[in-house]
């Protein structure tokens, strides 16, 4: 009997830990990682009294939302790139929301004209170069990565990762499919090793001397400098903003969308507005070294030390539209194999 009581108690604690009991709440499916999102959400709860329930996953949340249909408890989806945001729109899983605050906080190029997705931050796809072996490369362009002079010198994560898919998509937008494929073949031929690990692991590989050039988003530099073990990795590379002499550096976003059947719509909109406003924007900039979308919010000291740069102004929707073509090209050249 005693055992039964104990078991019931344990089961009860598991179930209550998973259920959302607060009256005022909002439910979030997040592709973004806990360590960044949790402090921001805690701040929101502190200010508004609204409890935030989250499921974190790097994969499959859109598919779960799709399966749950109109019964889904999710109010918001946080994404890490434009393709995911557009996938939500394409699959008709989200709804438009008119909000003056969102409109004034987020510049027009960083939100859907139909108000179905909103960018919260932007991030650049940078090229890290070995400080001692290559130095800074101010003239470098993405196109140069296919140049034979970098043979055996490039490291990258899987080509299928959304960050790389978006970069390939942007190459398709600018040069067409055939040229983009040629470029991919060139880059593949230059790889020092099979694509593997995450963006940070590529910089580590430069530090170790495995390669001289690594592809990676801008904010990883800041994160590495914040981790005792990774400081030497960060110090072994220069961060470069490609294509400064022509179209500018490829930019992606992290975004938020309101789900079609959001059961807590009012709170969800409140949270969206909070995320686009000063406090949260500043946290994105300071904690995660991203570029805030709201004008007037300062980037972190470190990020501003890299200086001004020109970014590629091609419409994000055009890039996302090439996603499937980009994936096909990556398969055709067997980029990851």
């Amino acid at each position: 009997m005693k055992k039964l009581v104990l078991a019931t108690l344990a089961l009860g604690s598991v179930i209550t830990s998973a259920s959302a009991v607060a009256a005022e709440e909002v439910n979030v499916y997040s592709y973004r990682q806990p360590f960044l999102i949790e402090p921001i959400m805690a701040k929101f709860t502190e200010q508004s009294g609204v409890k935030v329930n989250i499921v974190f996953a790097k994969k499959g949340l859109v598919e779960r939302l799709e399966r749950e249909g109109k019964l889904s408890p999710a109010d918001l989806v946080l994404t890490t790139d434009i393709s995911r945001s557009l996938e939500l729109v394409e699959k008709e899983l989200v709804q438009p929301i008119q909000s003056e605050e969102l409109e004034s906080n987020i510049p027009a190029q960083y939100r859907d004209p139909a108000d179905q997705w909103f960018a919260l931050t932007t991030r650049t796809r940078n090229v890290y170069s070995a400080k001692e072996r290559l130095g800074k490369l101010p003239e470098l362009s993405y196109e140069d990565l296919a140049d034979a002079k970098y043979k055996g010198k490039i490291c990258t994560r899987s080509g299928k990762h959304p960050y790389n898919v978006a970069l390939v998509s942007s190459m398709i937008v600018h040069h067409g499919e055939a040229k983009a494929k040629e470029w991919l073949e060139g880059v593949k031929a230059n790889l020092a090793r099979k694509p593997q690990g995450n963006d940070r692991a590529q910089v580590k590989a430069v530090y170790e001397g495995v390669c001289d050039i690594a592809l990676g988003n801008n904010y990883y530099m800041g994160k590495m400098l914040n981790d005792e073990k990774q400081i030497p990795w960060a110090n072994s590379v220069e961060i470069n903003f490609p294509n400064q002499t022509n179209r500018g550096t490829h930019v992606n976003i992290s975004g938020v969308s309101l789900t079609k059947y959001a059961p807590n719509k009012a709170n969800a909109v409140k949270l969206m507005e909070f995320l686009s406003d000063d406090v949260a924007q500043q946290m994105y900039a300071e904690v995660n070294y991203e570029y805030p979308v709201k004008q007037g919010v300062a980037v972190s000291k470190l990020v501003s030390s890299w200086g001004e740069f020109k970014s590629d102004t091609v419409a994000l929707a055009d890039i996302a539209a090439q996603r499937k073509t980009a994936l096909k090209l990556l398969d055709e050249v067997k980029f990851d194999l």
Binding site: S13, I15, A18, S19, A205
Partner: protein, 543 residues
């Protein structure tokens, strides 16, 4: 031979089996929809590489496990070595290590910047990676190494049990007839143990096929990764389901080989007394070589990675000793316990159904309940969501039709979906363990008890259940360990604000920062160790 079982038994066997197989039927149904252009494209480009990699990985792991585990099992069962009492259970310890954790640790150790290569460079004065050759850990070979080092215990466990169950008199006869121990091994022990070895290898093969985290970490492109890519990259559930169906086909193939290999096996348990003095006593260098061999297996699969984990945890203790950590531990424990108990109950139900009703169709429920084993967790998760999502919609529609407010999601997105996902995936382990245990009960016992006028249900309670207790215990423990480690299905199916230890640890591994997740990883291992020690105790007492 037997009178028909009561309707409720038959019905519940089929009902549970169908419940477990439903997610897979849903997937197959998706997979049978007309081939999309995307699937053609995959076949024309990368699919054959994926298939080849998968086959090589499975073959590699199976062969390596065979070479590693069977000699160890034989040494433990048949020979007297110094420290054998400790070794025989130590050899099972790697089973408690999640493969992706071991993968991370060996990468840290063996990669270019790791301490080993660093030391080699210092000693030999090499300057950079061009100066010497060192095997790349993030490769197919590396994956085979890591997966083998944590999965070989399955084979070891089954092979050792089989060796122990072999009649001592057979070995004594062989020795009396002038055979050396080696000859006795090849001509008596091995052929008799073959069915157990094949079962063990099929378990290893299916675990390997379903692995995602390790191959992902090592950038080995297998079918599991193809499924992820297709479904989550191209957004095509149909094509992903098609690949899953191909994988299911492989599972069915593996299972058939396993069945075929023991089609004539009818060896029933006898009261054996495996006296210790019947063991071969190894002398001289052989003794030490054998000990060293076994201990090195334990060292590679457990001691070394576990020591490194403890070292990580020491440095990052403050960061990981939190309230959440306790909650996640309780979550994992409770879920794993529930799943283990239900899976074993189902296994007993379908196993005995088959035993008591000898019509050929009665084998189906147990086969059906085993289908989910090799389906990658993420795919399985979707398979679970399809029927549950449908059910939720129906319930809510009916409620609304009745003029009431619908309850929302009752099944998908709750603990029920999570538990169902685990059950679909791990029932095969329970079914296998319980079934092999049932098969060892001699049919003559059934005949006797029926002759003495027992009803089938009474016979089950008074004869079968007591005799298969050990098998049930093994089933509960194995499912428990696997559920503690389960990852991909949990990632997708879990409710809001819900973490298990495995999802929590993986979050750090996938960010290449396992150091911060070392403490929860240690808990996964320790909690897995308890059942292993239990399991071993019960095996010991059996002999």
């Amino acid at each position: 031979m037997y009178s028909r079982l009561s309707f409720s038994w038959t019905a519940s066997s089929w009902a549970f089996a169908l419940l477990l197989v439903f997610p897979i039927i849903a997937l197959v149904y998706e997979g049978l929809k007309p081939a999309e252009e995307i699937f053609q494209h995959l076949m024309a480009t990368v699919m054959w590489d994926y298939i080849l990699n998968t086959v090589l990985l499975i073959l590699g792991v199976c062969i390596a496990s065979l070479l590693v585990a069977v000699p160890a099992a034989w040494l433990m069962a048949m020979c007297e070595l110094p420290g054998r009492k400790h070794l025989q259970w130590a050899l099972m310890l790697p089973l408690a290590m999640p493969a992706y954790v071991v993968a991370y640790i060996y990468t840290d150790l063996l990669e270019y910047a790791g301490p080993l290569q660093g030391a080699l460079r210092d000693v030999f004065g090499w300057q950079n990676s061009q100066d010497y050759w060192f095997p790349e850990i993030r490769s197919l070979g590396g994956a085979i190494f890591v997966i083998t080092s944590v999965l070989y215990p399955y084979l070891y466990l089954l092979a050792r049990t089989s060796f122990l169950e072999q009649s001592v008199s057979l070995m004594q006869s062989a020795r009396l007839l002038g055979k050396t121990p080696t000859q006795a091994f090849w001509r008596i022990s091995l052929p008799l143990a073959r069915p157990a070895i094949v079962v063990g290898m099929s378990l290893v093969a299916m675990e390997t096929l379903a692995d995602f985290a390790t191959v992902d970490f090592f950038a080995v492109n297998t079918l599991t990764r193809a499924v992820y890519d297709t479904w989550l990259g191209y957004g095509s559930l149909q094509a992903a389901a098609k690949i899953s169906v191909m994988m299911l086909f492989v599972v069915v193939l593996i299972l058939s080989i396993e069945r075929y290999s023991r089609r004539k096996q009818k060896v029933f348990q006898k009261a054996l007394t495996h006296e210790d003095d019947s063991r071969f006593v190894l002398l001289g260098w052989r003794k030490w070589a054998a000990s060293l061999y076994c201990w090195s297996l334990v060292a590679v699969g457990f001691i070394l990675p576990f020591a490194i984990l403890i070292n990580y945890a020491r440095y990052y203790f403050a960061a990981s000793w939190t309230a959440e950590f306790f909650q996640y531990s309780v979550n994992s424990l409770v879920i794993a316990t529930i799943v283990a108990l239900i899976a074993t109950a189902i296994a007993v139900l379908v196993g005995l159904y088959r035993r008591l009703d000898t019509r050929p169709s009665t084998v189906l429920p147990s086969r059906l309940s085993s289908m989910g084993y090799a389906v990658p967790g993420t795919v399985l998760a979707i398979g679970v969501l399809i029927p549950f999502g449908w059910l939720d919609v129906q319930i809510n529609d009916v409620m609304q039709w009745l003029g009431m407010k619908g309850p929302g999601l009752l099944f998908s997105g709750t603990m029920i979906a999570l538990i169902a996902g685990y059950l679909v995936r791990f029932s095969a382990i329970a079914v296998g363990a319980v079934e092999s245990s049932i098969n060892k009960v001699s049919p003559s016992l059934d005949m006797v008890s029926r002759t003495l006028g027992q009803t089938p249900v009474k016979m089950v309670r008074r004869v079968h259940i007591p005799l298969i207790r050990k098998g049930c215990l093994a089933a509960i423990l194995l499912v428990f360990i696997e559920s503690m480690k389960e990852l991909p299905a949990a990632l997708i199916l879990r409710p809001f604000n819900f973490e298990t230890l495995a999802t929590y640890v993986y979050q750090f591994v996938s960010d290449e920062m396992l150091e911060y997740g070392a403490l929860p990883a240690i808990v996964i291992v320790l909690v897995g160790l308890v059942p292993l020690i239990f399991l071993n105790r019960s095996l010991e007492q059996a002999h």
